[in-house]
Symmetry: C2
């Protein structure tokens, strides 16, 4: 069996325990690990590293594709082994360390990590640890994600390969690995349709660089998405109606444009909502495929889906593995530099659907910072997609914390996406189409269609008072963040409890 997995005989000599392999990682090193959304992350070496870090001084700079499972970020963070982390995370323990200033988190656009590594200022990648289905003299066949593994393999001084026997060999053929050349020899990325194969079905790697092989047997952590609820079903409905409207207006064809859907329960629910929408022949060009994407493939709504990772619930993992022969021609995994590349996103004309933590009345979006200060997960690929998409949609429930937080505020407490990059905002109450509108017009749309009625009057009051002072983007600058400050003090933004009266208009200084 190992002959099928480790196809170069000499490499079988490099099989060792996770502890032995982990000993290649020294204090202060930069380590690039596979994994994107807990799909295809390493299962053994991180645990061994954490074990060692509990006994001796060991802190690393950890680079991955995106978030990875608890058994990477969580376990390493608990052991105090993460000094620096990029480009994304979603682990509870690590998040606490980041927000305490104990771990430095460099929150990057997911497409840019590979560029920055090639550009050299992030320093060398000392060791790469990559989960694989198989390894040969040509390279390694990744598992459920490609992420940054190809660039790690290319740049790392040493590579540790984790051969995961629980990942079916039939995953081979699912990957399409293309990396842009270094400048000035960079050529156009030849991809002109979502389903096109432009690279290799494996990550090229000189076997000389493989310093260790660790054999594991463990599935990816199941992806936890909440099932659709009344609000997310409404959001999906508004978006489907809007797409139908755009088709009738002749701006979209019947199979729309290639779809991207961000990570998380709301985006997943939006995809679920498309199952009964009547659209067919859809394609996905996304960074991750969640359960909703498999559902759409199974329902025949989606013909083809590519991304950088497949992160599924237990039920869908089983379904996916059992149906691999069926899915292999309709699903493709690409490096995240390609799945999220501005060049390709702009060329294909993606419809991007991402989740907002909050938005403001002018359509700026906060995707990352709770209360303007505390990191949730990271910007991920939302900036890659939102700026370059044909249509950039942000979805959010209009309320959080039982109504004590309005997701529509006068001014977002942190900006990840500027108004120019936000075409449409959808909440359970409705959809605001902001295309071609000036900020004052955007405010009317957003308040009317997206804000919860509980907060609409207060928002209208704010706009009215701010507009008297003038401006392209009217604000009462001394009160613009008052809703957040009041939530911080009194645990509620509710107008009856916490909002001060907007001050009387003051004459603008000449």
């Amino acid at each position: 069996m190992l002959e099928e997995r480790i196809r170069l005989a000499q490499l079988r000599d490099r099989i060792m325990t996770a502890e032995e392999a982990a000993s290649l990682v020294l204090d202060g090193m930069t380590v690039g690990m596979s994994g994107f959304g807990a799909a295809g992350d390493c299962k053994a070496v991180p645990l061994a590293l954490a074990e060692r870090a509990r006994k001796q001084s060991l802190q690393i700079t950890l680079m991955t594709g995106a978030s990875v499972g608890y058994e990477v970020d969580g376990v390493l963070a608990e052991a105090g082994a993460i000094r620096r982390r990029m480009p994304f995370q979603s682990d509870r323990t690590l998040r606490k360390q980041i927000n305490a200033g104990d771990a430095m988190f460099i929150d990057l656009h997911l497409s840019e990590m590979a560029e920055q590594l090639r550009d050299g200022y992030l320093g060398p990648v000392d060791v790469a640890v990559i989960e694989a289905v198989a390894v040969s003299e040509a390279g390694i066949v990744p598992t459920m994600s490609v992420g940054n593994s190809a660039v790690f393999a290319a740049l790392a001084k040493k590579v540790i390969v984790e051969i995961n026997l629980d990942m079916p060999l039939e995953l081979e053929g699912l990957h399409d690995v293309y990396l842009p050349l270094s400048r000035p020899n960079r050529e156009p990325i030849p991809l002109t349709n979502a389903a096109q194969r432009i690279g290799l079905p494996y990550i090229p790697l000189d076997p000389q660089k493989i310093a260790a092989i660790v054999v594991t047997r463990k599935g990816d952590s199941p992806n936890k998405v909440l099932p659709p609820d009344a609000d997310t079903t409404q959001i999906a409905g508004h978006l489907s109606s809007f797409f139908a409207h755009e088709v009738r207006a002749g701006r979209l064809g019947a199979s729309l444009q290639p779809l991207q859907a961000g990570v998380g329960s709301i985006a997943n629910a939006v995809l679920h909502g498309l199952v009964d929408s009547g659209f067919s022949g859809l394609r996905m060009y996304s960074e991750v495929l969640q359960d909703g994407a498999i559902e759409l493939l199974d329902a025949g709504c989606v013909d083809f889906a590519c991304a950088s990772a497949i992160m599924l619930s237990s039920e869908y993992q089983t379904r996916f593995f059992e149906g691999l022969d069926r899915y292999r021609s309709r699903v493709m995994l690409r490096p995240q530099e390609i799945s999220n590349h501005p060049e390709v996103i702009r060329r294909l004309g993606i419809i991007a659907v991402n989740t907002a933590l909050e938005c403001d009345i002018y359509g700026n979006v906060n995707s990352t910072h709770v209360g303007g200060t505390h990191m949730m997960n990271g910007i991920g690929g939302s900036g890659d997609f939102a700026r370059n998409a044909y249509l950039s949609v942000f979805v959010t429930k209009s309320l959080a914390k039982d109504g004590d937080i309005s997701s529509v505020v006068p001014m977002v407490s942190h900006v990840d996406h500027i108004g120019q990059d936000v075409d449409v905002i959808v909440t359970e109450h409705g959809l605001a189409d902001l295309r071609g509108l000036a900020p004052r017009e955007r405010a009317q749309q957003i308040i009317t269609h997206c804000a919860d009625p509980l907060y609409r009057d207060a928002l209208r009051d704010y706009v009215a008072k701010a507009s008297k002072r003038g401006g392209q983007t009217p604000h009462l600058i001394e009160e613009a963040l008052a809703w957040h400050a009041h939530y911080r003090e009194r645990h509620s933004m509710r107008p009856d409890q916490t909002l001060p009266q907007a001050s009387q208009p003051v004459a603008e200084p000449a």
Copy 2:
């Protein structure tokens, strides 16, 4: 002489006065006009339109390349003729109307206007008015800019051509007009080096669509840039030293990477500063070429420069026209969709230098909104370049209004460029290299190297107090915009005069 300019005999029958041509524009229409940075804008039809608007109801949606001269935006605004405006402006009268809410300004990424027009939701372009050197049965040869003229010509129902006899025929051959195909037939843009010709030397246009030709004789409004001063010379010096450092570190070659420099005096001074820097073989891939670019070409530092417009002072206009035979092989004008295209900017690895109005301690940049509310000019191409550049630099003087404003603040009052898109910030005091740093680390760099000493202690105090509350990006949310509010009230941000003591740390709600 007109035979050389209007090369299809039947078109000479369509010569008419500006008033007659302007009568094609009716109240409520959308008009696309040539012009980018007052280069190559129309000289006669806008004046005639304004004249008519003073007598009868006439309001239009005005689209251009970028800003245009006073005799377009200023005169039309004074006549009350601009209802909606996109994608950029810099006119005093129009700015007042925008900030009063009387004219709706849709502030767009310059590369995206053409996409949005093709996508159809901005509505049809009723009339295009394009200044040209010459017109033939194949199309029109533009003057000092290409801007959005090619997409206007392609989409407009009717085209008015202004043949400007003061623009030398020798401009022919300077332009390279390539427009991406509509999706799904979009191919990669074949441009792989800044000097490559990929399109036509004219804007293709069916002569049947030419409804009027107006003959003019008038130069572009001279570009007003302030001469380098002590501060801008310092800024240029810091940046040159940084480039030299990057060359020594092996991250840049001796001829750097293609340069973009934003509009304005500081960016121009930065280019001026490169003349004596010792770099040679440089290339520019920019949106506009100002005097500094011509200076670098003349000095032999720059081999080749392309952009979407050439906006020069009177002195440099003369120099440029007299040397056209010399410049023609070293200068190229492209549609702004190409000069600013994310695909090309990322592929070529541009060094982008743009001007900030203010930045914050975490490296977010405000390029557009004075006091967070009042529009200055617009985001222009800065977002196209900053997000996709190899190196995104923002320059600003550390102080404004005789020191009453600090350009480095706790939180910017409006975000145009998020931290991820800002690699380097330079003021006269120094340069902060933010690459690979987490927000808390960025704050130290920016305060130490960029803030004026007058404000450094107050900024450090803010960071120290905010950091006690924790967070990836620490803020005292209730005071984050206090500097702006105090400037508004008391006309100064100076700590001795206006800044409140930061409040005592409050325990974070669980």
